[in-house]
Amino acid sequence: MTRAKGWLGALPLLVFFALVFGIPAIALVAGAFTANGEPSLANVGQSLQGGYLTAMAGSVQLSAVVALAGAVLGTFLAQAVVTSRFALLREAVLTASGVLANFGGVPLAFFWIATLGNSGVISGLLGLPSGALYTFWGLVIVYLYFAIPLMVLVMAPALDGLRPQWREAAANNGATAWQFWRFVGLPVLTPAMLGGVVLLFGSAFAAFATANAMVGTVVPLVTLKIASALTGDVLIGYENIALALSLDMIVVAGLVMAIYLPLQKRSTRWLR
C-alpha cells in the first residue's frame, strides 16, 4: 500500500515524461524505420552514408573538441577563481559564468560575427583572413564561449570541496604539488570532470541556431542536416531521413553514456 502510494507521487512526472519524451521518441523511431508507408531500413541506411555521415562525423568531432578543450580551460579557470583571495572576483566570474553558459543561438553568432567576422571590429586589427570565423575551428571558438563558463559552474563546487588539509597532509607525507594532484586532487575531481565533459559534449552536439546563423552549410553538422531535411525549400519528402538522423544522434549519445558510466562508476568507487 505504502509502495503504491509512493508511485502515485511520481505519477505527474511520469505522465509528463511520457507526453514530452515517450511519445515523440516512439514517433521518431517509427518514422525512422518507415519509408513510403512501409517498414524499412532505407532511411537509417541513407542517414549513414555520404553527406549525412560526414555531417555526423563533423558533429561528433566538433563536440569532442569543444568538450575536451572546454573541460580543461574551464577547470583551470574555476581553480583560479576558487583559490583567488579576491572574493569579489570569484563572485563576478561565477555570476558571469551563469549568464554566459546560457548565451547561445543567433545572439551569440551575431556577437562573434561582429567581433571576428569578415567585417568584425577585431578582425582587421588581427589581420584575420576572410572567412576565418566560418570554419570548424571558428565554430569551436564560438562554442567554447558557452562551454567554458558551463564547465566553471560544474567544477567550482567540486574544487571548493578539495580540503586544504588534504594538500597539507600530502605535503607532510613528502608529496610535491604534482604528486598531490596526481594521487588525490585529480582522482577526487574526476567524477565532476567526467560529468562536465559529457555535459559539454551534449551541449555542443545538440547546438543548432548558432551554427546555422554562422556557417550554414560550410561546416557539415548533423543538426544542420536535420533542419535542412525538415524545412528545406528544395528537398521535400526527406522528413523521415531527419528522423533517422535524430535516431543516429540518440545512438551517439547512448555510446557516449556507455563510455561515461563505467568511467564514472570506477571514479566514484571511493564514494560508495
Binding site: 580540503r163 597532509a169 594521487f183
Partner: protein
C-alpha cells in the same frame, strides 16, 4: 627516530593579528609537550611553523640544532595529525597510511606490509580496505596517526586531533596516543585547548597567551604552582577571594596563609584558591549556605554562599550526602601557599572575620 625541537623567538603576524610574539620553547628528544591555550593564542601557528605550513616573520625553528625554517613542508621530517577530515577520501585506510611510502616510490609489497603493521599498531587491522567515509571519527584519526608515523618521522605533531571526537572516544584515543608515543619514544608536540587533555597526557604543558609562553612545566607544577594568574585561571577552576597581604602571609576568609612567590608590601589582593582547597563542613550555626551541588563523578562541586559573595568547593562524593542545597556550613581553606594577584573583582571581603563565621 627522535629529536630536539626548539622554537627560537618566533614571531608571526596575520594582518593586524599577532599570532606569535617572540615564542621560545625547547622540547627535549622523546618528550611529549602539550601546547595549551585559548583560541588565538598562537599554539596552532607554532605547530604549523614546525610542519612548514607557516613561515615565521622572524625567529627560527630548530630540529636537533639545525635551522629548518626555510625547509619546504614536504622535506621536513615531521608527521602530522590534523584536527579532522585530513584522510584522502579516494584512498582506503591502507593506501592512506602508505601514501608517503608511495610518494617515495617504496615497492608495493613493502609499503603494504608497513601500512598493515601500522594499522595493527593503532588497533585497526581489519579496516585496511575501508574508505574514510566508512570509518568513524575515532577510526579516521587512528588511521591519520598511522599515516603520520609511516615515514618514521623524528617529530610527531598533533593539532587538536581529538577535538572532533565524542568524550569517550577522546579519552581512549588520547591514552592510546600516549602509549604509542612512549613505545616509540618519538618527540611529540600536542596542541589542545582542553586543559584536562593536556594535563593528562603530556610530560610538560606549555601554556600560551597572546603568542607568548606564559609557563611551561610538568602538569602538576602548572596546576599546583601556576606562574601567573592567567595560567591559574586557564588551567582548572579558581576562586577569587579578597585578601590582604602582609609580609609573606595573606589574610583571607579569616585565615592566615603563606603566599606563593614574592609578595610585595602591604596591599589588598585577590587570592586564587582552587575549589578542592576549600573545605566545607555542615554546621547549623555556620554563616555560609550551600546554594547548589553538581555531581562530577568522584567529587561533587558545591556553590556556597558567603556573606557578600560565593565560593566553589569540590568535596568527595560521599561527603556530599550531608551537604545538600540549603545546608548551613562553615568554610575553611587548606593551609598551603596560595597565589595572589592584583585586586580585580573578588568575593567576599570579610578578611577580618573569623573563619568559623563564614
Amino acid at each position: 627516530m627522535t629529536a630536539q625541537v626548539e622554537f627560537r623567538g618566533l614571531r608571526r603576524v596575520f594582518g593586524k593579528t599577532v599570532a606569535l610574539d617572540g615564542f621560545d620553547l625547547t622540547i627535549a628528544p622523546g618528550e611529549f609537550v602539550a601546547l595549551l591555550g585559548p583560541s588565538g593564542c598562537g599554539k596552532t601557528t607554532a605547530l604549523r611553523c614546525v610542519a612548514g605550513f607557516e613561515r615565521p616573520d622572524s625567529g627560527a625553528v630548530l630540529v636537533d640544532g639545525e635551522d629548518i625554517t626555510d625547509v619546504p613542508a614536504n622535506k621536513r621530517d615531521a608527521g602530522m595529525v590534523f584536527q579532522s577530515y585530513s584522510l584522502f577520501p579516494n584512498l582506503n585506510a591502507r593506501d592512506n597510511v602508505a601514501f608517503g611510502l608511495r610518494v617515495r616510490k617504496v615497492p608495493v609489497a613493502t609499503r603494504r606490509a608497513k601500512a598493515d603493521e601500522l594499522l595493527e599498531l593503532v588497533g585497526l587491522p581489519s579496516h585496511a580496505d575501508r574508505f574514510p567515509h566508512q570509518l568513524s571519527g575515532g577510526q579516521q584519526q587512528r588511521v591519520a596517526l598511522a599515516r603520520a608515523l609511516a615515514l618514521e618521522p623524528r617529530v610527531l605533531l598533533l593539532d587538536e586531533p581529538l577535538s572532533a571526537l565524542d568524550a569517550k572516544v577522546r579519552v581512549s584515543l588520547r591514552e592510546e596516543i600516549r602509549r604509542l608515543q612512549l613505545d616509540l619514544g618519538i618527540t611529540t608536540i600536542f596542541v589542545t585547548h582542553d586543559q584536562e587533555e593536556a594535563l593528562s597526557i603530556a610530560d610538560r604543558v606549555a601554556v600560551l597567551r597572546d603568542g607568548r609562553l606564559e609557563q611551561c612545566g610538568p602538569p602538576a607544577e602548572v596546576y599546583d604552582r601556576p606562574a601567573t594568574p592567567f595560567v591559574a585561571e586557564f588551567v582548572g577552576t579558581m576562586n577569587h577571594l579578597a585578601g590582604h597581604v602582609s609580609g609573606d602571609k595573606v589574610r583571607v576568609l579569616g585565615q592566615l596563609l603563606p603566599v606563593d612567590g614574592e609578595p610585595a608590601g602591604t596591599r589588598e589582593v585577590d587570592v586564587l584558591i582552587r575549589p578542592e582547597a576549600v573545605r566545607v563542613t555542615p554546621d547549623p550555626e555556620g554563616k555560609a549556605e550551600i546554594l547548589a551541588a553538581s555531581f562530577r563523578g568522584a567529587s561533587v562541586r558545591l556553590r556556597v554562599a558567603l556573606s557578600g559573595g560565593e565560593v566553589l568547593a569540590d568535596v568527595p562524593g560521599h561527603e556530599a550526602l550531608s551537604l545538600a542545597p540549603g545546608t548551613r556550613v562553615t568554610v575553611r581553606l587548606v593551609e598551603r601557599p596560595v597565589l595572589v594577584a592584583e585586586r580585580t573583582v573578588t568575593v567576599p571581603s570579610p578578611a577580618s572575620e573569623p573563619a568559623d563565621a563564614v
